[in-house]
Symmetry: C2
Subunit: 208 residues, 2 copies
DNA sequence: TATTACCGACAGGCAGTCGGTCTATAAAGT
DNA sequence: ACTTTATAGACCGACTGCCTGTCGGTAATA
């Protein structure tokens, strides 16, 4: 029973299957056999569309990051919402993420998926930091913030938050987590030269 | 030609070989065959001493982290050197590292070694941060620093510096690197509530 | 003589390759 | 208009070579 489909359609079928399997069992724990059985194709077909197993992962990350950074960008350019609120919205967009990309983030935080996590972190850091830095610069012209290093500040915050909250790099109880969050807001205010408590106030409007 | 050795000696021979090979070819790129051929032992012998390939990596990391954190601790408790200088010495101990551990850090920063890097980062962050935080608290009592979150500050700095300077997470030219370093010192001063330029001065005494 | 260290053949599973097959569509012939 | 032929894109599955981990058995040491 041979079924011929448009190349792009097949590619997406494979990516969808891989996405689910990687989430369940990790990259190393998933065999190419698992993937091609799930899609219902032969070995050769898989390697017709992708040149290697890692190539599948890269394509998956690409698809994911395009969506995510696009969403962040969209929020960032909306000059009608105040600067501080916009920052928070951008950050929230990273964690929640929409529909199909959701699964990927839920199960990535296992040591199994170290490489995948590293690659995602890389596109996240280099993709989102410039977006955030632009908002900060806007805040500086408005007199809200004051720092000679807006980009580096956001880079630091991005990397730290990503590592602390998304990895199991630092084992934490819920208490410790809350304490970390509180400290982070305080530290961001200091880094950005914002008035003490100015970020905290806006944060509380969103809960958590 | 069967040679019998003390278990611990063999274990270390295996770890030394693995250390070198992982550095050259990465964890995934190194086969257990490579290791046992380099040591000159049979398959069974390798698995007599280690229960899996990953077990070898874990033992390697353990050996490495014990040395490194020990060295950091030693510097930290020497109350005769001034606080700021001590901090810098601890951080420098992480990058240079002595002899046998040196190689491991030199070649880890390839995407191949993602898992290994993640594991090392984990022990580094959770092992060194408390040491640094203690020095900061000392600095607070001396009136040098002023922050309600000494631990979280150092955690942020550790994670950021490790990611930025040790990974190829963020591609950088030498100029950009220098700019990052400058920004980092500035930001650390802000985080710790130190007098502006107080860290910078001491840094310059060390060069780089 | 018992324990500890060691051996190497073997099983099972894996990623990636390759020659060949099917099918849809376009071109050529009638 | 209607069939035949050509071509390229999508697909197939057997096969290769490598890899990790196991196990029954063997030599050395105390």
């Amino acid at each position: 029973m041979r079924v011929v489909k448009d190349a792009e359609e097949r590619r997406n079928e494979i990516l969808d299957a891989a996405n689910e399997l990687f989430a369940q069992k990790g990259f190393d724990g998933t065999s190419t056999n698992d993937i091609l059985e799930k899609v219902g194709i032969a070995r050769g077909t898989l390697y017709y569309h992708f040149k290697s197993k890692e190539d599948i992962m890269d394509a998956l990350i690409e698809r994911y990051s395009v969506r995510l950074i696009g969403a962040a960008q969209e929020i960032a350019v909306d000059k009608s919402t105040p600067v501080v609120e916009r920052i928070i919205r951008v950050i929230m967009a990273l964690n929640i993420s929409d529909g199909s990309s959701q699964e990927i983030m839920e199960h990535i935080h296992k040591p199994q998926n170290a490489l995948m996590h590293q690659k995602i972190q890389k596109v996240l850091i280099n993709g989102v930091t410039p977006i955030l830095a632009d908002i900060i610069r806007e805040g500086i012209t408005q007199g809200l913030f004051n720092t000679p290093f807006p980009y580096e500040c956001m880079e630091m915050v991005m990397i730290y938050a990503n590592t602390i909250f998304d990895d199991d790099m630092v084992p934490m109880t819920n208490e410790e987590l809350a304490h970390r969050a509180q400290a982070l807001v305080y530290n961001i205010e200091r880094l950005l030269g914002a008035e003490s408590g100015s970020l905290m106030q806006v944060m509380q409007m969103f809960g958590s």
